[in-house]
């Protein structure tokens, strides 16, 4: 009940937000929030730290960008194709990665995503260092012109809500129950007869497809697909967003992405622009040392301590 009211309040806020805040900034927040939520599905609910999620973000972006520029498909088709391609890549990468655990899982995903990075660096259609520029936003369903930032914003919001709902549903499904069991005690889950690697694999595919969805959407928003999105910095940034917001919480990644994007935007405009990396690093260290549960995690703790039944 309480949580439903919170959803409603957030939804209303999201509807009226572009009146007060710059829509492109909001869209950026939503794209990264979706990316972080997808990442959190693996880290927070299965206990898998992927260090290669940029590969899926970038794949979604490049595929959508290419289709929009060269085939003239409508944006929804472009986004769906980008999502599917990222999911397929995730199916391939995930199959290999889930065979390992812990730090080895992180290293395997990092290595595989670097493969993707070099592929996109060399492949002729991506534009290499320049990236794909001037990707048209097109007309949604062939009717609504997305060049208008307000239409684009509500389209992005709809995509975000879909992705968020998808993750919420996955967590609160019979499948999600098994995922939580695996996170809590993997040997016990095995001894109950679950093929844990298959469950991890499916979760990996869902997560990578949604990361691809975020990347596809981001490409349309900025009309640009570039190497930044496949670079391992991006994989690191999503870890920061998730930890800052609160790993394993529903709203944590949303808040974390909002905070990180807001800080970056705010700083890059002023004279502090050169110090963005240092400041983000300090935030990361403080987060890990002082409030390991992230913003939402700490709030939950305070609520539980003071109002818990």
């Amino acid at each position: 009940m309480k949580i439903n009211k919170l959803y409603l309040a957030l939804f209303i806020f999201a509807l009226i937000a572009p009146a007060a805040l710059y829509p492109v900034f909001l869209m950026k927040v939503l794209c990264f929030a979706l990316f972080a939520c997808a990442f959190n599905l693996l880290l927070g609910f299965v206990g898998l730290l992927s260090f290669g999620h940029a590969a899926f973000l970038g794949t979604g972006g490049y595929v959508t960008g290419y289709l929009m520029m060269h085939t003239g498909v409508t944006p929804e088709i472009g986004i769906i194709c980008g999502t599917i391609c990222a999911g397929l890549l995730g199916a391939f990468y995930g199959k290999l990665a889930v065979k390992r655990e812990g730090i080895y899982f992180a290293m395997v995903t990092l290595a595989l995503s670097q493969l993707a990075f070099f592929f996109y660096l060399q492949a002729p259609f991506t534009g290499g260092e320049d990236g794909m520029q001037g990707v048209p936003r097109g007309h949604l369903f062939g009717i609504i012109d997305l060049a208008d930032n307000m239409s684009m914003y509500y389209f992005v919001l709809a995509i975000f809500i879909f992705g968020f709902w998808m993750i919420h549903r996955t967590i609160h499904s019979p499948f999600g129950q098994v995922l939580k069991a695996i996170r809590e005690n993997e040997p016990r889950a095995i001894s109950l007869g679950y093929n844990v690697n298959d469950y991890k694999w499916v979760a990996f595919i869902i997560s990578s497809a949604l990361a691809g969805l975020a990347g596809s959407t981001k490409t349309l928003v900025f009309q640009l697909a570039s190497l930044t999105d496949v670079h391992w910095h991006m994989s690191g940034e999503v870890v920061l967003m998730t930890l800052l917001g609160g790993m394993g919480t529903i709203f944590g990644p949303l808040l974390g992405a909002g905070a990180v994007v807001a800080i970056q935007n705010y700083l890059s405009g002023g004279e502090m622009g050169n110090y963005v990396s240092i400041i983000m690093g300090v935030i990361f260290v403080v987060c890990v040392l002082a409030f390991r549960n992230g913003i939402v995690g700490e709030i939950n703790k305070v609520i539980k301590r003071n109002f818990g039944s």
Partner: protein, 271 residues
């Protein structure tokens, strides 16, 4: 002949880099019995256990379950055939509720465990069965508690309920009373006795009081090999068993003591 045996091992052996932890072990677990595996520290009990549950792969030898060779199978696969193990430290899902712990176990045979698009509410249909299982181990009033908050003995009881949910044919219990106080030990021992009806149980156990109370047959391991086998009377009268436990064969020392201090002293004597 082999029809009477649920589980058999044939010349089971496990080497760890030049060290033989388990050497040519031939176990025969009879259907419908409680079989205990005992032995001093480092005798290879847990290794045997991990071999049987496939958490380790044997170097040589075979494992037969109901006459089928399961040596090469995955741990999850033998679990689906009805061989369910427990762990030395309590194996629960700490941040799920007590009811959810049992439900995760019941859920597997429902065939919806990959359905990420469905609401978890469809699992509520399993609640009645889960409550029955919790009642059978005396945990019904804790159903909504987060498992991490349960006392240790209750966690072990929950673990047994979770295992029972799978209707196992063979239960493998790894030191079910380890780290427990006296009240809890009796509680769990009674519970094992109660759930053993119609099933076969193989347990590794340090507490000889529990072994004497429960086990139909005892296998004593020492340095990775079987020292002797038989019922409690036979085994406890065997001088070699006393020697293995006490380091020296003293006639006045009796083995059937549940005194923890004595066991510790025995281990030290062994070193």
């Amino acid at each position: 002949m082999s029809a009477d045996y649920v589980l058999q091992t044939i010349d089971l052996r496990k080497d760890f880099k030049g060290f033989t932890a388990v050497e040519d072990v031939n176990l025969n677990i009879e259907r419908g019995t409680i079989h205990a595996l005992i032995g001093p520290n480092g005798a290879g009990k847990t290794t045997v256990f991990n071999l049987l549950t496939k958490f380790l792969t044997p170097t040589t030898g075979k494992i037969l379950y109901n006459g089928t060779d399961i040596t090469a199978m995955e741990p999850a696969a033998i679990a689906r055939m009805g061989v369910i193990r427990s762990f030395q430290i309590s194996a629960v899902f700490p941040h799920l509720s007590v009811l959810e712990n049992v439900r995760v176990s019941l859920q597997r045979t429902e065939g919806n465990s990959f359905h990420f698009w469905k609401s978890e509410k469809i699992l509520d249909g399993l609640n009645d069965r889960a409550m029955e299982l919790l009642e059978s181990v005396g945990l019904q009033e804790y159903a909504d508690t987060v498992t991490v908050d349960l006392p240790y003995g209750r966690k072990r009881a929950l673990e047994i309920a979770t295992t029972l949910a799978l209707e196992p044919e063979l239960m493998l219990l790894d030191e079910p009373t380890q780290g427990m106080g006296h009240e809890d030990i009796d509680l769990v021992a009674d519970l094992i006795k109660k759930v053993s009806v119609g099933r076969t149980i193989l347990m590794v156990e340090h507490n000889l009081h529990v072994v004497s109370k429960l086990a139909d047959k005892i296998t004593v391991l020492q340095r990775g090999a079987i020292l002797t086998e038989g019922d409690y009377q036979t085994v406890s009268a065997d001088p070699r068993v006393r020697e293995a436990y006490m380091g020296v064969s003293e006639d006045e020392e009796v083995i059937d003591s549940s005194d923890k201090a004595k066991a510790v002293a025995a281990e030290e004597a062994d070193v």
